[in-house]
Symmetry: D2
Subunit: 367 residues, 4 copies
């Protein structure tokens, strides 16, 4: 249960940063979807480290293999399993972490939970776990495009106090991918780059906000009460490593508006009601209303830093620790495909769930 | 599935604002817990309208009845069912809403989803649905207090741009309940009261932020990956009516800190490592670390306002609408027990789940 | 979790034989289904005691109330809650059972599990719990008839060693309901009646087999591996009180055939392949093949008997016990609607699940 | 959902008979369990073909690899993933099955469900899928032995009409493994061997019954209503390939006994009540009572036979088909570890679930 997401389109990830590999089982993929391992790889390549000088310089090829669920180029309807092998690592690289808890990592909490220390490189808490999510989301992306023309696009909205100016309605994937920061505002991107490089030189790290838009989501997706579309998005997005906050539509800023300003007036549209503003972020009462779905995720500054920090040993003694090796001073660019992944997985699940809702004829005489 | 929350301590709510009643089935309550209907009623009374001039003046007695799962004053281990009857309503009171969609309500999205309009008072999207959550949470509260001394306390942190100054570590239930706003900062509470009353006179509404602290949560609660404690909190809290954002610990503000400032250093403590700061909000890697769990929820300004708004009819014609009757100009005070409810339900579930994790002896020689 | 069944069409029952009442929450009912409380009551009336001299003479009116999920005669798509009140009982009637375990009942095992004795009339293990299942199944019955013309019909196939001769293909509800035994073979029914009355006079009880057929189930329902249609049927049917065995198609008798005799040859049919025999019972590889689904459930003789039996007290002392009051000497007639209920619930769930499978266009060129 | 089993100890299998491999993700394994790949392999070796002349002569090495969840010889608490590679197969070996449905296989039903024909060797319906179950069950076996001394042992009880005489109480693994039939009654085993070899020569196949006993299961495992221990066993066992019936305790034979004969009288025991007979098969009211759990599974004769059979093509034309290559004339010996697997998985899940039930102190004064 702890590693599964979704009700119908249900993904279960497995694997640690060290060991045989990481991957995902995707249950509930509809049959007859044309899919290739290359389509998965394209999103995985956006996620992996080493893409630019801004992110970790480790070379992780992250080659995906589809173990099951695809036959002659089409999904069979049975579970897709995808495996990405870990590379062999120098087993001594993590020796200095065996008996000490890195501040603001999961080292101590995993030990408290499991009474066991998997000290090699973050274990299950490593961001490598998200490989499975991104691979599964590539399948969701293909499905949603095919059945409904849905498109999901995320970008870096801010790094530290540098805020981008982005028109989410006009944004393209090309604009996002144009800069290694994945910030489509060139001016902000340049300042982000400078800030991230300075943070690296300082042995420090930066956080920021990833924003995401989903377009052409039909009205009616999401379930009342606990499985609201925004609730599933919030749960999924907060489950990403380093996430500390989630907003839908107006978010926290909306709390400072009045109802009259915040309410989204309806006007007649070609295919039903449209709203003239979108403070709701495309979701009302937990259900999509046909407008763009807009959300934002706050990522804290990376916990792993080269500066010396105060901590304790497994035996309870005070000590200090400084990270060795190469580390991301800012995870934001790599978080972009992860945010897209959780939005895609949520939407695929809710789109399929709605299929089991809309089964009876429309009523001639509505009450 | 759509109306259930939790894995072991699992609640399923039912009911609409009109009809026979609303309620909850609570599966997974451990046996031998002493509980009375009065303990449920106490929390329900904090949730219901009509407590002060700040909130809706409707008189809803909301008397709970425990239908099953309790025998001779103790839980039996089988599902508890709790029912709160709806009062008979004037069936004509909602006639003017039959064919029109209220802006920023669930009227249109429910219709898009279900092809059916339950126009009587919000139906399943009504805040009355949260009665079941609050009743179930009263059971969770009793359980968590008994097994672990856990205490969960929420308060109104802001209304519009009025921000309270609250020391979450020293806060008491009495301080929260001292003012109808449920804001424990008397000065801010007074200004909030003024602002809310002004909004009512203006036919407008206000939003705000509810904050919540959970104390004495043992380290080790929460599951890696999708069922992280913060992910379950975020999903649960975002499922509350009118919620648009959730933060854990430093939240969005934390994105503007550097890693060196944001990391929570460890120091030796009497019962294991403690952190000297709590930007993590008590959760690291999705698992509690023994510090106070701190979260915040953004609630948009209430959608129902007396001012006239632009909207469309079910037939797609432009029209205008103004709310009739009495309505909350600000839901924040009533949202306090709802926020506590979702935190309590998440914690009860994760506390019980950890029971099935920690089953084997500690290893003598740890790797 | 312990009290829920189904993935999409998901029922959660609650209630004990004593206390406020028993009922069910049905989540996942598609909207726009016309349903009345009378349709639920019709099936509940077939389940309740007191219908003839063959079954318990207690008068339990079992009046159902729909608390939610239906508006103006149609389902809304939100959870249906159904409540059946318990009657007030003489609280002293069960005093003699307070400290003693009835043989082959759940008294001891519930106490071992919960450390708590709900001694009033069977508690959650009472057959009254099945009221919720039967009420939910009435909704499933209506849905399946409307969307696919599916019909589910069960009957008493044997009592003790009296075996009925029934042509399942030609059987009608009228034939089943024609005799209080619910055995549609008049000769066997007469002998069953005699045997049951003799058992009552002997202070003894009888068991038997209920058979069930589901007609017009489309090919393709059921999921591979764990959620096979036959696996879900077996799990659901074995969850009925007093069930000790389940067979699909040829069942145990099929183990004595050879493959050549047992295999069901295909022949061309108007709407696709048909089988010339049906040893598979309409299910192959866990998925329906369009033939009649046929299953059988073994019910042990009722545990409650008037004869004196050896047992132990809660304190571990040997003692004897003889049932007081009126009891079913044979549950088979009342088990018929319960068996139908589990088959209906399984089919409704799988029919809706298949909606989320069959979403992409057929392939022009199949591999 | 379709490929997962269990609530806390939750296994998800993946893979087809052809493609990259088959395997399982096991979520909910408690940390600190010592486990080696050799312990998984031991059970896998009992499952695989080619062990004797009685079963398929294909040489499938079925080497398991643990991809995650184990570190330095102990489980970490995070998901275990196990992979068994498929061997490369002659792609032409199944060409003759491309356009035709094998009788009493899943060929037609999968096509009806998915609109897609994975014609290579059974696909997901292949018995190779059970590799994942057996690997996961080896972990469950180790856990149950360690925490409760539970032992699960299955054997071939009958083949066709040859019935073994077995004392389940005294049975040992050695006695089961002593003969390739896995029938511990040497005389019956010899006759079974003769019958199976004759069936092979006849181009025919045989079915039979596998029985299973679970010893030292503590009283109190299993949940009321739908998640009864016997219901979960029945669902799990019926999900095995070729299963057509399941019995617990007295099963169908019990329906011919009277209540007085069938009830299991209690007598005082050293550790609580014991029953003097075990018609209940160790389960009463869905919950274990501390006696041996006894169940039986009916397996139909293998569908794949060398004799010519009547069938239809994918285009709906009548044709005939005879299996090529080597096939099991009787799956019973290989079904033994599969039956054990489902019993082990059910028991591990329920043992862990009970941990979250028994959390509060015993009541001093019981009602």
């Amino acid at each position: 249960m702890t590693s599964s997401f979704g009700t119908i389109f249900r993904v279960s990830t497995f694997g640690e940063s060290h060991g045989g590999g990481v991957g995902v089982v995707i249950d509930g993929v509809p049959p007859r979807l044309a899919i290739t391992v290359g389509e998965l790889q394209a999103d995985l390549d956006r996620r992996r480290p080493g893409q630019s000088r801004l992110v970790t310089q480790r070379d992780e090829a992250d080659r995906a293999e589809i173990l099951s669920g695809v036959f002659e180029g089409y999904t069979t309807g049975t579970p897709m399993a995808v495996l990405v092998r870990n590379k062999d690592h120098n087993s001594g690289a993590y020796d200095h972490l065996k008996g000490v808890y890195r501040p603001s990592h999961a080292d101590f909490t995993y030990d408290a939970k499991y009474g066991f220390r998997n000290w090699a490189g973050g274990g299950r808490a490593s961001a490598r776990e998200t490989i499975g999510r991104v691979a599964a989301a590539a399948v969701a992306r293909k499905l949603l495009a095919e059945v409904a023309g849905i498109e999901v696009l995320a970008w870096v909205q801010s790094v530290a106090d540098i805020e981008a100016d982005v028109d989410s309605g006009a944004l393209t994937l090309e604009a996002v991918e144009a800069d290694p920061t994945r910030c489509p505002d060139p001016d902000a991107a340049a300042r982000m780059t400078t800030a991230i490089e300075q943070a690296r030189r300082d042995g420090d790290s930066l956080g920021g906000v990833v924003a995401c838009v989903a377009r052409r989501v039909p009205a009616g997706l999401g379930e009342p009460v606990f499985d609201k579309l925004d609730a599933d998005l919030a749960g999924g997005l907060m489950s990403l490593p380093a996430a500390k906050g989630v907003e839908i539509g107006s978010g926290f800023a909306g709390t400072r508006m009045t109802g009259l300003a915040h309410n989204d007036p309806f006007e007649p549209g070609a295919d039903g009601p449209r709203t003239t503003t979108n403070h709701s972020g495309g979701i009302q009462g937990g259900i999509s209303n046909g407008e763009d779905i807009v959300c934002r995720v706050a990522f804290k500054p990376t916990g792993t830093i080269a500066s010396e920090q105060q901590t304790v040993t497994r035996e309870g003694e005070a000590t200090t620790l400084a990270a060795k090796g190469r580390h991301d001073p800012c995870v934001l660019p790599r978080a972009v495909p992860m945010v897209e992944a959780m939005v895609l997985l949520s939407l695929a699940d809710h789109w399929l769930r709605q299929r089991a809702v809309d089964v009876l004829p429309q009523l001639d005489v509505r009450p």
